[in-house]
Symmetry: C2
Subunit: 241 residues, 2 copies
């Protein structure tokens, strides 16, 4: 019997037709589909593929034991997640060893701040793993803003809004173009850092890029409440003939 392959498949920023042709084929053909989601929610990755799955597809929902209920600094956070990833790994490896291929759905690009990376590092010594890159959420965001992100020799810095405020300020001051991910409950802090760096006026908030309720707002005009699928951008102003 041949051992199956675990495919980590990037789905892109949200619109079904922004999936790659390779991802589209794998998703439509898969007998086993796995995806992460917050417990009790349908899951964004699963939502993207609505209507694409085989009628006989077997779904494996991997529900995070914790997301924002306790701070990342709490020692239980790492313990719970690491037990969870080990369990998902066992399940997927068992399917592969039974000869089954599995498609793991990944929002954006699997290797860019993705949960699949935690399975990839655990699986790659025990089963064949294959990654399909995807259009990142940040590409979706700057396309939604209808403005290029980097010109000529622009430096692009990608930050997570979870960083300390002074670290955010220092780095926002020292870059041409900026992308901030993982905004969530950190938007007020991020705004203070942008103001301190003198750059709030050039920042844009992009919510639900490439999804039906996509919205692009000057950060200065936005409230401090943003959904999980939000990205803050500052466009580079580099050389252009």
């Amino acid at each position: 019997m041949t051992i199956g392959t675990i495919h980590g498949v990037g789905l892109g920023p949200g619109a079904q037709d922004l999936m790659s042709v390779r991802a589209d084929r794998l998703v439509r053909g898969a007998r086993h589909i796995a995806f992460f989601r917050k417990a009790g929610k349908p899951g964004q990755a699963r939502r993207i593929v609505d209507g694409m799955l085989r009628a006989d597809a077997i779904e494996y929902a991997m529900e995070y034991p914790v997301t924002t209920e306790i701070p990342i600094s709490d020692p239980r956070y790492n313990d719970w997640l690491s037990t969870f990833y080990a369990e998902c790994t066992r399940h997927l490896a068992a399917l592969a060893h039974a000869g089954e291929d599995v498609v793991v759905l990944c929002e954006g690009d699997p290797f860019f701040y993705g949960s699949f990376m935690h399975l990839h590092s655990r699986l790659s010594d025990i089963a064949p793993v294959c990654v399909v890159p995807g259009i990142t959420g940040m590409s979706g965001a700057w396309t939604a803003s209808d403005t290029p992100i980097t010109w000529g020799e622009d430096v692009l810095t990608v930050l997570t809004a979870t960083l300390p405020e002074d670290e955010l300020t220092r780095r926002i001051r020292d870059t041409d173009a900026l992308v901030v991910m993982k905004i969530g409950r950190h938007l007020a802090k991020l705004r203070r850092a942008l103001v301190a760096a003198g750059r709030e006026e050039s920042a844009w908030l992009v919510e639900y890029a490439a999804m039906p309720d996509q919205r692009v707002t000057r950060l200065a005009d936005a409230t401090d409440i943003a959904p999980y699928f939000a990205i803050v951008l500052i466009h580079g102003q580099g050389r252009r003939p």
Copy 2:
């Protein structure tokens, strides 16, 4: 008569099936196809779509008047390119005003260091322009390296190797994950900057990612000669449960 639309279509890093479903449909359906290339070369964007075009597709090759023959600092550089972009803009706008849609082929993602941006800024007030994001060359590169680029709170810095050496060194020292684009003839300088920053040992050179001759080498084991389609990476080592 309806005015046509100019579509700037991201083709992704090089493999035909890493194009999005939306890009695939637009490319296969287009009566007018435009693309940039170095004079006398077939052009990488055009190569990616080989075999996909309609039999009656009309092709418009936009040949750069200059690439690396004179330095960017030479005043003629900007003049020649700006005359060239103006001419391409006139041609595409004329097609749109004659009611024709045009697909402009863009390697990677159109708004990430792409030549299409120079047409977008000139066209957007005179004709409908629509951009389809793509998988970036850097996503293709880190996927080829089979290693995630950013974990947890990793800071990612994207640089062009054209920057001055001390600027490269300073920024390479001050980031978790690194992507360097536009390597070309700057690899020896980039290597000196990586060594000065104490990070040459963790750097990887990815050539022709997602193309048939894809190659991933530890930078320390590579020569100082790299093709245009080369990217240097340092993978982040951030938090992972």
